[in-house]
Symmetry: C6
Subunit: 246 residues, 6 copies
């Protein structure tokens, strides 16, 4: 952790030197944090307009689910600027106390994962969904397996820890429960994004115009399209450590 | 064993030196024992009120099951002070003669393991159960597997030792028996904690107020809520060696 | 990449030296690129007339599917000159942005893979299909497995990532979905090539006469047999990097 | 073998030296043999009265089955003095010719193994059976597997040698046969011990009083409770090599 | 390849030296080729008349299937002189272009493999078939697996590449298809050899009399028993490289 | 082979030296051959009368099946003198030409293997069969697996080579065929030995009296009990190399 912090300062210092600045600014530290978390920006990479549009809706899908699901991590920012192998990403802030996570919070994480793919399908149709969601599906599947196999959070399996070599029958039941959790999350998210389709268009267009948006900017943009009270955890925003969703 | 004892004395001596004490006190030795068994206290860790409350009920669940189940190990103390990666814990005293354990005692251990999760579900509802029970479930599953596979304690399998590579059919039957033992324990504990729900609230609130309670303190607190005679083994309290339940 | 480029120039330079040329020509660079991508030409290898004819139809099958399927990579050239262990090949140009591929594009790749074998069957009958399609089938199977197991592109599996050791039941369902995707591609391509059978004969005969044809030459040859508008992506032809289909 | 004999003499000689004896006595050799076969006596270990009682019935169970089953190895002695990790044990004399063992003798071994657990269940009830029988069950399961898989002693499998990787169907049949042999042994022994319940009480009480009993002493104790002729093999008692049953 | 050629000349030269010849003859080169391909002749090995007769029919079975199946490799010679561990063999000439093989040619190879065993069964009865066909069955099974798993040549599996770890269900289907291909080949060959039974007797008797027969000699012998036109590929005889069938 | 011969002569020479003989006799060479093939005689080993009797019938069972089954290897001698870990053995002469073995000969080998166990069961009853037959069952199972998996000698599997990792369904069918071959052999042998029960008693008693019997001696003993003509292969007796059956 300390190593990372020192690295952060080094990168920020180099940035400041390049820019001829006399002392480190918040912008230079933000630049350094993004560089460490998300890789180098690929400003020269050619992205087709069609691909940009798809990415904008994908990232907006993640963001809108996170804004509208109780128990989800608060969002920090969203971008369609490609970094590393990702065409865009949404970063979330981890909660302060991660030692014990509730079932509700885990379900919210599944939903946020599904947001990108569901937005693709909703806007472009099933034939145009992309391979871009594969890492989201990987993350969601691992979460669901943890819930079923380690945390006793599935009725069909119950309060049991599944070890590495269960019988094929038990493994089938675990697989079926995991699949069920994932399909339910997908369906929940489909209903949620259909309901917030206008907000989805507005946010995707904003990303296409501005490339990167902070949580505050997104909230301002989405304000007219809010329904009811925002979930509480959105208010608690911490500055240390971020989660990244491609 | 000797190594541990010497380590214990060293830690206690350092504590005494820090405190400027002239000789080792029982309190310094207790401090050293906790340090070895449970890791360093994390007084600076930020824990939300909601998380503390959940932990208090989780640990109280373990404790109340242990106090009310014949054959369970006697409790030594309970705490919601985080140590290592655990947000709280209940420590139990091992019985004097561990070479041969009865089925009844093993079932009591299953029940004590289930106490934490069942308390979470009972008080906060199924959506709010947490990942905090995962190590309890791991322990309970291993106990149940030992009963079924090694000790001939299941009717469906009978007096047979299951080796590492049984047929998939036999493995399925073992898994089904293990699942059955675990569900039965869960249901027994649910009934027990429903019956002692008042005691559960009282003990959880006491933990929230005092953070750590000894067996004696817990017994005094729970005295008005006792029904009938306390199981015998509670009387036999030994000072050497403790079991820890997160 | 740089290494390859340097290697390319070296081979072209040697070719130029052999030919006594004073500077590198486009033809010498094309020669070098083919040498790297496809192996050494085997001009002395004896190929029976029957085998040549089968190869001509096989490669024409790939080409006609690629010309007539939306989402397929644009074709660069086709040849029945044996190189390495292949009796002929079709080279395609990769699309500019490969980080995110749509389901439609993946299905088009499956179809292009199937084109060779389907043409064999259509023209020579089922008894005369050859082992020459085995690498096409390998590629198509891996694509279909990626779609089903990693990309959530199959209804029967849904938005789930299949890890390396699924239950045998889930593995069966994955295998069934992969088989379904492959059979559907095969059937689609059979219908397409039946519809374009005249074009298939014309292109195969042109390959038998000229051995190697560029995309432009093929388009001119097939012009009278086109039906409707050519898919858009055919227009975008890039010069850097090629895909090879044996 | 020679090594063991020399070791035996060494231990006996040390014992004699400690006792200031001028030459080795039979008692010193017996002491040395027990030390090698069964580990060091644990005279200082604290054993609860309840546990001692359970052990006395467990060992008496083994002994009474061995006395009353044709084909069983003759008993040498029984003890409830803990040695190593065992709380008690029965030692048997191996038969002179071990190269070829009959099915009847193998079934008798299964029965003797089951004697301990069955006695626990009969006297204390199913909830009070202990983990102490786990090594007996392990031994019995291995014997039954040997009979079924290597010796053609099961009708359902027949005259076939089962190798390490049979089909899962065949493995299931083997497992079912092994389970059947073990259950039948358990049931036979339950009937036998019910019939000899008085003898069981007498022998267990004698062990509680004297801790260790020789075969001769047990026979004298059980004499009034014998029914009919003792099985022949009991007469043949050899002095060399012993089997141990915990 | 060059190494083999040089080795060939060396062996031929030694043979010539032994025979006191001044220069290498075709016969000495033929001798050297046989030595490399088939091992040393075992003239001193004692073979019973019954075994010789069985071998003669086995090799004649291979030969007659090869002569009468379109797509089979042309035969070079047949022998019942034991070499290495084989009691006899038929050598075939590989086709000129092996990079792409048709389903028809693969089926012909299966049939030629089956010829030996089918002749044994037809002439001597099922009880007298021998272990001598085991390597033929191994070759045939591998060919059939290649057709089904790699070449999409089975309707039940279709245009799919089967990787090393398919689901057990898919593996069962592959096994069933392989078994079907092998049984069909066996049945086809049984019908063919029944029809050519006279030729089979004639050829086997010729082998018993002359031990080794060239393709030309076999054709002359079988001429009166031919029905219709010999398949075309028999005419194309090449001198380089041979296949051996034991 | 040469090494063995030299070893044979050495052992015989030592024997001769011990006996003070001036040159090697046939008896000394026979002694040396037995020593190499069967281990050292264990004259001092104590064998109970009951065990000796069982061994005599076991070995007689092997011998009588070998004498009365067409295709079996000719017998060389039988003994109930323990050697190595075996209590007795029958030695057979290998046939001259082992490169190709007929199904009939393989079935005869299965039958000879079963002879020992079947004789035990027939004379002493099922409860008294011994572990002594385990290596016979191992040999018989491996023979049957070779017939089914490698030699196409089972109708249910047909002309197919089973590789190491078949589908579980195919493996089940192979196991079922192997079991069927073994049970059929067992039943055939039971019928045969019932028919020759008098001869079995006579031969077993002769072995109990003389310990070792040559083929000639056995034939003389069994002469009055022969029915019909002895199978041919019994006449062909070779002096080089022997097979051993425990």
């Amino acid at each position: 952790m300390e190593l990372i912090s020192r690295n952060l300062v080094n990168i920020a210092a180099i940035k400041a030197a390049v820019e001829g600045a006399e002392k480190l600014t918040a912008a230079q530290l933000e630049f350094a944090k993004d560089r460490i978390l998300m890789g180098t920006e690929r400003k020269t990479m050619f992205i087709s307009e069609e691909s940009k549009k798809l990415t904008a809706y994908h990232e907006s899908g993640h963001a809108i689910v996170a804004f509208n699901t109780e128990g989800a991590h608060p969002i920090h920012k969203a971008t369609i600027m490609p970094r590393g192998s990702a065409l865009g990403m949404v970063t979330q802030l981890p909660s302060s106390d991660e030692t014990s996570i509730s079932k509700k919070q885990l379900l919210a994480r599944l939903d946020v994962c599904m947001g990108g793919r569901v937005a693709e399908e909703l806007i472009f149709g099933q034939d145009h969904v992309t391979t871009g969601a594969s890492s989201d599906l990987h993350t969601a599947t691992e979460l669901a397996q943890y819930m079923v196999s380690n945390c006793g959070m599935s009725d069909a399996i119950g309060p049991m820890h599944i070890n590495e070599r269960p019988s094929s029958e038990l493994q089938s039941r675990v697989d079926a429960e995991v699949m069920k959790l994932l399909r339910e999350a997908y369906d929940r998210v489909k209903a949620l994004l259909k309901k917030h389709e206008k907000a989805l268009h507005v946010l995707a267009n904003a990303l296409l115009e501005y490339e990167t948006l902070s949580a505050e900017e997104m909230k301002r943009i989405l304000h007219p399209y809010r329904e009811g009270r925002q979930p509480e955890q959105q208010e608690v925003v911490q500055e240390e450590g971020e989660l990244v969703l491609a």
